[in-house]
């Protein structure tokens, strides 16, 4: 098997200089951790602010006129998305499965979308064919996440600090023309900053020079999003899971549901919309293992009678919870918090129970201060 050489982000040299351990991820050489380590980087994000390089993710722009075409690919209200606002969305297939999840922003004079690195080829082909999307290959993407993120942005770009959760703005940070959204993948308040690749290292260094900001890698990003109950594509959601099974029906606005102004009209609508009303046989649920050892993706869940009732899709150690945490699909009647189950680990069973998601409360900045 020949392996394609790994791609590098604009911050590759900086990661090296910071002592990162680099791993292959979705075709990129990415920092999994810095010398502080995953647990410390995770904690730092929850108590201070961390800078993540997420430039491996795909960025593209679409004309505003492509709104209806984009709506035909996602069960999300795109036409109703106001300028300066962002929405979580997912591409679906004819059987209601999820082809990828993405962020859609109305940037005022165009739509800006961010897709998963591992799904770039698929998503860009789809968006080019149906929506005339233009790939923004020359932009990096930085995420500043944590309770100190707003203070940092207040100093560097007050316009960003004035945003609330899921609002966006085009603004300058230093000399760099950025597109900023107040969002992220950690459950914390924070910002995602799209920046020209040529300005990325300077911006990253500027952010890292701010008090309370430290670099964090993909390892901490994964444990943070897991504690926050956020799905990772290819693990917690994929073409075999529907948005309703995944508990993501909140992302399907009224306009696209039965009785809505533009009900249906996306792939798999005849599967997904009835599921919102009638429910599904299985649901995504949080799982708290007993003891200190993490449960891992792929492990089977049994009920009290030893019947197979689910499968783990993500598992790891939640540094803030200070305990292992996991997510799984389980039979819907068992998906209530408190249900006692067992996981099969290396041929033995380990007690665990269903828990409410998220494991750590979201701390998004939703309101403007009066």
């Amino acid at each position: 098997m020949t392996e394609a050489p790994l791609l590098r982000t604009a911050l590759h040299a900086l990661h090296r200089a910071l002592g990162a351990r680099m791993v292959a991820f979705a075709g990129y050489e990415m920092p999994v951790q810095y010398p502080a380590g995953i647990l410390a980087e995770h904690q730092h994000t929850r108590t201070h602010a961390s800078l993540f390089d997420v430039s491996h993710m795909g960025q593209a722009r679409l004309a505003l006129a492509a709104a209806a075409a984009l709506e035909a690919l996602v069960p999300v209200d795109v036409l109703g998305l106001a300028a300066g606002r962002q929405r979580y969305a997912f591409f679906t297939n004819e059987t209601g499965g999820i082809l990828d999840d993405l962020m859609i922003s109305n940037a005022g004079d165009h739509y800006f979308v961010v897709v998963n690195a591992a799904r770039k080829a698929h998503d860009f082909a789809l968006l080019a064919k149906h929506c005339g999307a233009v790939v923004l290959a020359d932009r990096a993407l930085l995420a500043l996440q944590g309770p100190l993120a707003a203070q940092v942005m207040q100093r560097l770009a007050p316009g960003a600090a004035a945003l609330v959760f899921m609002q966006t703005a085009a603004l300058k940070i230093g000399s760099a023309a950025c597109f900023v959204s107040r969002s992220g993948y950690t459950g914390e308040d924070g910002f995602e900053i799209s920046v020209p690749a040529g300005e990325a290292e300077r911006l990253a260094k500027l952010l890292l020079a701010q008090q309370g900001v430290a670099p964090a890698g993909l390892g901490a990003r994964d444990s943070l999003r897991l504690e926050a109950g956020l799905c990772l594509y290819g693990h917690d959601i994929d073409a075999s899971t529907t948005p309703v099974e995944a508990g993501l029906e909140w992302a399907i606005q009224k306009a696209r549901r039965h009785g809505g102004a533009r009900a249906g009209g996306f792939p798999g609508a005849d599967v997904i919309l009835p599921q919102i009303e009638r429910g599904t046989a299985r649901r995504r649920a949080g799982i708290l293992p007993e003891g200190r050892a993490p449960l891992r993706e792929g492990e089977t869940l049994l009920d009290a009678e030893g019947r197979r009732v689910g499968r783990l899709t993500s598992g790891g150690f939640g540094a803030t919870v200070n305990a292992p945490v996991a997510m799984a699909y389980v039979e819907s009647p068992l998906a209530r918090p408190g249900t006692e189950l067992a996981a099969v680990v290396r041929g033995r069973t380990r007690a665990c129970r269903v828990a409410a998601l998220p494991f750590v409360p979201h701390r998004y900045y939703r309101e403007k201060t009066p």
Binding site: V32, Q33, G37, I38, L39, A40, G219, S223, G291, R292, A293, P294, R296, G316, F317, A319, P324, R346
Partner: protein, 124 residues
């Protein structure tokens, strides 16, 4: 006099004057694993064969096995790791030890790596 030996799988064993071996994982191994959050230790009295899975190491990234470098009987385990598994990261060849084992056959040590040979191997 103590003897320190390493395995190709990154375990170490230190033999004390009484001929009891203390086992753990090397600095290189803990670096590769990242932050360790749990170690499942063998029970005292368990008979282990050389190369048999003796402990399970759970890091933030993955689970890994610690194999017994020699055959023998487990005489003691490091109970402190239950509360502070991070000792394995901080002091892998000291406070982060896993278990002690009474050797069945000291000759098994001859096939293990000495420190210099191990360093040469992991420096690659």
């Amino acid at each position: 006099m103590t003897t320190l030996r390493m395995t190709e799988d990154h375990e170490w064993i230190r033999i004390d004057a009484a001929g009891v071996g203390t086992v753990g994982i090397t600095r290189f191994a803990q670096e590769q694993l990242g932050d360790i959050v749990f170690v499942e230790l063998p029970t005292v009295g368990r008979q282990l064969a050389q190369g048999e899975d003796a402990a399970v190491i759970e890091s933030v990234k993955a689970a890994a096995e610690c194999k017994s470098p020699v055959s023998g009987t487990v005489t003691e385990v490091n109970g402190a790791l239950a509360e502070e598994p991070g000792k394995v990261n901080q002091d892998p060849t000291g406070a982060g030890w896993f278990f002690k084992i009474r050797l069945e056959d000291a000759k098994q040590l001859d096939a293990l790596l000495d420190e210099a040979a191990y360093q040469a191997k992991t420096a690659k």
